[in-house]
Symmetry: C3
Subunit: 285 residues, 3 copies
């Protein structure tokens, strides 16, 4: 099977199972991320109070951690929800948004990184900072290209984490015992950086796909890291396909956002297969 | 007078009075709920800090309590705002979203229920859980049909609370001294469950109508429970009519959400009268 | 040079520099305000936790303070971010939303006012209340006209603060050593009051322009107060032009909001020059 076959099978399973995705995510993008999950076929739950976030994580299928505009409730909730996911072995996604903007933020993100996410999804500057455990970010904008971040992504991959780097082209990097794989996905829309929350909600959709992969016949026999890599790639294909469809309907970033949600809802397996991808495999470092 | 006459009169009064509706509501849907209230003709205020929520409740006309993603500020604010409404006798709405997801959440919702809401609005699973004081929810999705919830709604009605159950058809259940009435409203759009906050913002609009009913000539002489039932039904008719109009314009959930707000703004009394309804009356249990 | 030449130059510089604007702003409008900044050409960052808001303010170019639905995190963050801006001399914007709704809210807004904002932007009732250090607001709606607020705005201007009053026409009032200037901007769309966050996000855009003025060749030699007045006026022209363009595309407040973001993205210097303005100059009081 090829990537596109896996992606199509994952999309169909996601729509059948409607995975419940707990998002501990910045308040700026909660509405958009919830709408992205609903439109794509998943079920959102932004449960982020320490009184019940860990309990809720027991029934959640997926989990996204994103400290964009954290409250103390969110820092405490993340600790609890991550613990629940770690105990059950369910895969979860870390979005290192804001890595490097302050020592405090960076230390909280590193604490999450060291708790074992299956996937890290961020822009190039965030992935580089995370891999080097240092950073100097400028808000949520990347000052590096995706190519700049491939070495950093490979080092995360070799540590057992699927690294997804977002940019004009996206790169999904993951390793198995013998090799490091890089899937590149090209397309999307130039309006995407002008809509808040596209990156954050891609993290949410990636968590939905990661929750689906162990329950999809075509991917369940793959090794966990390759299976998770396929899930991350499928989420990015779904996003890219919706963005391309929306771009043809939009007259600016506002109408783009509405058509993008329409696109996420309408995309089918054949649409994913039409997106331009490349897969390269290298030795482990 | 019939339901549709009451509903039309309430809509006209709402637009004249622009009731100020305080919403203590989850951050995921604050923007959408505020836009729903503005588009429909009411005035939103999401005042939810314990330092002034109770004070603000003195000037608010309506109140919605919804603990979807509560902060500690919201739990404390709700206590204060509910006290203010209880002292003045103004009607307020409880949305039991999240009932059953954790012992903590359930206990906070029961505490609000026991403080005397005029209306409870939720999906079938939430209404059943609330009436039985037990629940096992899966996020915000209902696992029951509206018909499943009619007995639970009737038991709330007989305890003096108007129960509004949302689903493919909506049911508004309320009791007077001699009978229990069930108003069923059919219509809407299959896109509604794919837009976050439609249920929550229906609760907000219900609070706006409840605040209007005592000031509407045609409803002010009805008994409080029947008057409140008419207000809840009018809010659901307004919502359903806007959804039907939007459905014909939409190409997916993103464009639906924009056209739905347009529809709420454009709907008039004649539109409410065109929605399919049924009214059945039974004895009290 | 005339106002419109300054405004056009500021717009071009804003798009080149993409100023990073820290917004401590109510959660209801965080998404919309972020989308407004992105569409217009700036970069938003809603950093509002006391652990790093003051640190982040060191790299932010602009700052908006708006206590619409404050958390305790936001009150504490504002103190820190304002201190950082005060030390560096960078201009920041205060939006006195909610002034007068409670003694607590009013005292926090007065504390911010006394910390030296370059610009205050609000509706007529808020500006009057602020200038008189008293108020009796009804949520976020103004119960006064812009003309009613001109004397209050002039008193703020003579105290060294640029006052921007929003309404059907907007007035920007600022003083230099010899005179008080009032720029009136007419236009926009009647849908604007039916979309939540238009006022708040105008504050955010004003902060972006204020951050741009010292770096724009055409305005950098103006006195700081006149330069800041030009920046505030340019932000309001940009907003008004986008609203007018959106109005022709919209069929209600929902589609208006989408087209408004498109308009902010598309507006150029020539569009700003087409908006109706008046500039009157009087003596200082």
């Amino acid at each position: 099977m090829e990537l596109k076959d896996y992606a199509g099978a994952l999309l169909e399973t996601l729509r059948q199972r409607t995975p419940l995705v707990q998002c501990i995510v910045n308040t700026v993008v909660q509405q958009f991320a919830a709408n992205v999950l609903l439109a794509a076929g998943a079920s959102p739950a932004m449960i982020d109070h320490e009184a019940d976030a860990a309990d809720f994580a027991e029934i959640a299928d997926g989990l996204l951690i994103n400290f964009g505009t954290p409250t103390s409730h969110q820092y405490l909730s993340a600790d609890g929800a991550i613990d629940t996911f770690a105990q059950s072995g369910k895969p979860w996604v870390l979005d290192p948004v804001g890595f490097g903007i302050s020592a405090h933020r960076t230390s909280r993100i590193m604490r999450a990184l060291n708790s074992g996410p299956a996937i890290v999804r961020g822009n190039a500057s965030e992935i580089i900072g995370l891999a080097q455990q240092s950073g100097s970010a400028r808000g949520t904008d990347s000052t590096h290209s995706v190519d700049d971040a491939l070495a950093a992504a490979a080092s995360l991959a070799q540590a057992g984490i699927v690294a997804a780097v977002s940019g004009e082209s996206d790169a999904i990097v993951f390793a198995d015992d013998s090799a490091t794989h890089t899937v590149t996905i090209t397309g999307g829309s130039p309006y995407m950086p002008s809509v808040i929350g596209t990156g954050c909600s891609l993290g949410a959709l990636t968590a939905a796909y990661a929750a689906t992969a162990a329950h999809t016949r075509q991917t369940q026999d793959l090794s966990p890291r390759v299976r998770t890599g396929m899930a991350a790639a499928a989420a990015h294909l779904h996003f890219t396909s919706a963005a391309q469809a929306a771009h043809t309907q939009a007259s600016g970033p506002g109408t783009f956002a509405a058509h993008f949600l329409d696109g996420l809802h309408a995309v089918g397996p054949d649409d994913l297969a039409r997106i331009e991808t490349a897969w390269t495999t290298g030795g482990t470092a």
